[in-house]
């Protein structure tokens, strides 16, 4: 699965994308990311799966496209 970081989150993690494997859902992913990148705990963001922002815990499948989205600032 591919994971993308945008905006401030790319800056904080030093990554714009990474491959992840063996993660079954977004709650598990969040725990792992907060362990790997403790600064994420202090930042606001939403998680999209296949370009949709889901509510609650979303199941991940092989080939899912996941992204961490900080607050939007268009306009």
């Amino acid at each position: 699965m591919k994971l993308f970081f945008f905006g401030q989150l790319a800056e904080v993690t030093g990554k714009s994308e990474m491959e992840i494997t063996n993660i079954s859902d977004t709650e598990t992913l969040l725990k792992k990311l907060e362990a790997d990148f403790p600064k994420l705990k202090n930042l606001k963001f939403q998680i999209s799966v296949d370009r949709k922002i889901g509510k609650g815990n979303v199941i991940l499948e092989n080939g899912s496209e996941i992204a961490l989205l900080p607050p939007f600032a268009g306009g």
Partner: protein, 148 residues
């Protein structure tokens, strides 16, 4: 007749007044239109902790943004009586005083044009994954966040 074809929203750098004027002039042949409404978002020189913003550098999650904008467009055509609609947003660096968002709606009558334009701008700010880095004169920056 409505125009629903997909068009490119994102443009590199600021949206020039000439581009806006050209867009307006392209509508002279569409004589069912009685009202246009236009929103222009301009980069503001905010002062944050004593430092003045000189530019915003925009980025996006392009695939998701395009899907979301497509949904917003389709919904706008069902909600409002529109003849056509154009949305352009900058990517990359836009200096203060320059235009970063251009929303242009056309309708037979003014009320639909006013309502659709306002609705579109609010939806774009709220739901489209676009980020802005506010850059100061000393090269430091903060990340912009829209007020909902």
């Amino acid at each position: 007749m409505t125009e629903k074809k997909k068009h490119k929203v994102f443009r590199e750098g600021p949206i020039s007044p000439d581009f806006i004027a050209d867009s307006i002039s392209k509508h002279t042949t569409k004589t069912s239109i009685g009202a246009h409404d236009i929103f222009l978002g301009q980069v503001r020189a905010d002062v944050i902790n004593g430092k003045t913003v000189e530019a915003i550098e925009y980025s996006t999650y392009q695939e998701m943004a395009e899907e979301k904008l497509h949904e917003i467009r389709e919904l706008a055509f069902t909600k409002f009586e529109l003849t056509c609609m154009h949305i352009y947003h900058s990517l990359g660096k836009v200096k203060t005083g320059e235009i970063s968002l251009f929303v242009f709606v056309s309708s037979p009558h003014r009320q639909s044009a006013f309502d659709a334009c306002r609705w579109l701008v609010e939806e774009i700010k709220k739901d489209v994954p676009i980020w802005g880095k506010e850059i100061f004169g000393d090269e430091t920056h903060v990340w912009k966040e829209n007020k909902i």
